[in-house]
Subunit: 340 residues, 2 copies
DNA sequence: TTGAAAGCGCTAACAC
DNA sequence: GTGTTAGCGCTTTCAA
């Protein structure tokens, strides 16, 4: 691979001049510039990001940690983040933390030694279990926490308002006449899951409905988890509606319920949260709460870039509003029966 | 951030010795080693991958280009690839080519200037449109092409045998008594899609069934594409079975068909290919062909690593066998009617 | 407007 | 076993 010295030699100039042409960092004589560009072309020269980064401390890279590639919510998030990064000529190194604090820490270290200029963290575990660790990292590199607030750690954050989302969802189901409303939530008390649960709990309370512990079950963050959770819930009680803490769980639950011969929404209405693409592909289509992922990604990345460009700029907590999306899985029973 | 010089100073040794301890590249006196490790700890020192990579030409990084994060097949692939990479202490930089040759080329350049040690390419467009380009890149860095053969380009490849898969699928449907079997394929003639189509075509022929052009429709690689494709197909003809070139398309088609009031599999049987997680979540569950993604990822990465460690080693075309998975969406009608 | 020289943090070759 | 030295490919003073 050709180096800047090769280019300089071919063009009959110094390395410094080539660098100037490359980075537009000083005025270069028109003729000289032309010769340099020709040399670059003829050698098929490409600057080395390693050398560049080492010298200038700018790697145009940031790191991002998500729990799992296979959760469609993160697929959408990654897509949006990549586009945003692209706009700023950044590239993202993506790692999966798998809800494992040690693995998360390991990757964060790894990213740091690769001199990323910023980090996007969807680390439900570390943030809680390792406040001081994250705090130390934040001194070295700008961090934005996704999907949950920053809990007093001096970093920025960007997340959808899950509390409000679950208030809307629960309110809506109660309006439809439901009283025995179950909830499937995550096994561990992750903040984003917890917020959603509180929205559900408080809304029940507001309407004078007592929370029934039999109607709250916990499971892994997968469709299979939702399936098992529904099984457990139905073995204890018989709700007329079930909310999943996210769409994936709701879809898993729906699968179990339909396999058992129950009608959705006739016998049991189901709703989720996140509005992943899948939620409108299943049948009946899933009622859910839309998270404007693009907007979150855009705001998060621009905040991160701002912080990279000016490390002393303020941290921000960016809270994004969500929208209730009513679909077949919670349609009023009468209407549903007509359709059948 | 502390550097190797700081560590050397604190430990009272030379940088070389620190490097030796760090990389286990020579025997170091036990006492000295201890002092070095203490210094590393006390300084919270982390080696810089930039400097390391620059000097040693080893970045422990490879690049991977996929079409889209949102296709679940790639989510699974990425997960497996990350795990394999992890075993070898490599990290992956993931980019999406979006079936766009220019974007693919741009990212490949980008990866190259970041000195990746190898590339995994799921680039349906570039490989075909830019053979010489890929060929040039292959001279600089080991490449493994995924999901399709290497077409004579001197690189390795790893893919599932889509031709055979579609033979099995078509054979099976014909055994079930289907004659009017439609196929939904990709808009562009990507090799992996084309192979699958040929398996379908040849199997029909083998059974003396003539290919009906009205029963072959093309669409984008998304569920929405499959939905539209089914609409078009049904407006022209009435098959008793439809195969999607992948599960996503099949699921989109199924959605349209059920919305139109047809029974699946009663009126129209549906099958896909890939066995994405989603295929067993929809109802009826989708008959499909399993691609052992883990195995492909494992073989691909170990081949890539082999090539990195010994650039003169042979290229290989790794072809992985697939398995027919029969589910509800193609169950014999009689059995289905009993179930209803 | 351009060049020379220093140095980013590390490893590798060679001495001792 | 360990230290010295050179240099990876680039940017950034400082001089001219």
């Amino acid at each position: 691979m050709a180096t800047i010295s090769d280019v300089a030699r071919i063009a009959g100039v110094s390395k410094a001049t080539v660098s100037r042409v490359l980075n537009d960092t000083a005025v270069v004589n028109k003729e000289t510039r032309k010769r340099v560009l020709q040399a670059i072309k003829s050698l098929n020269y490409m600057p080395s990001y390693l050398a560049k980064g080492m010298r200038s401390k700018k790697t145009s890279t940031f790191g991002i940690i998500i729990p799992d590639f296979r959760n469609p919510y993160y697929s959408e998030l990654l897509k949006c983040i990549e586009e945003e990064a692209r706009k700023h000529k950044f590239i993202a190194i993506i790692c999966t933390g798998e809800m494992n604090a040690e693995r998360e820490r390991e990757y964060i270290h790894y990213l740091l030694s690769r001199q990323v200029e910023g980090m996007v963290l969807c680390c439900y575990v570390s943030i809680l279990e390792n406040k001081t660790f994250i705090q130390d990292i934040a001194k070295k590199v700008p961090i934005i926490v996704m999907d949950q607030p920053s809990f007093g750690i001096p970093v920025s954050s960007a997340y959808a308002d899950g509390y409000k989302g679950f208030c809307k969802l629960t309110d809506y189901l109660i309006e439809q006449g439901h009283v025995k409303i179950g909830m499937i939530r995550s096994l561990h008390k992750y903040p984003c899951s917890e917020c959603r649960f509180l929205g559900y709990r408080d809304t029940l309370k507001k309407h004078g409905i007592e929370l029934d512990p039999d109607l709250v079950v916990e499971c892994e963050f997968t469709a299979a988890g939702g399936y098992e959770a529904a099984k457990r819930m139905l073995s204890r009680s018989k709700p007329t509606a079930i909310i999943g803490v996210n769409d994936l769980l709701a879809i898993g639950a729906m699968k179990y319920i339909r396999e058992k011969g129950y009608n959705v929404p006739g016998d049991i209405a189901i709703a989720g949260h996140d509005n992943i693409a899948l939620s409108s592909l299943v049948s009946p289509q899933l009622t859910t709460v839309n998270i404007p992922v693009e907007k979150i990604a855009e705001e998060a990345i621009s905040q991160l870039i701002r912080k990279i460009e000016n490390p002393r700029s303020w941290n921000r907590d960016i809270v994004i509003d969500t929208q209730l999306i009513i679909r077949q899985s919670t349609e009023p029973v009468t209407k549903h029966e007509i359709l059948m």
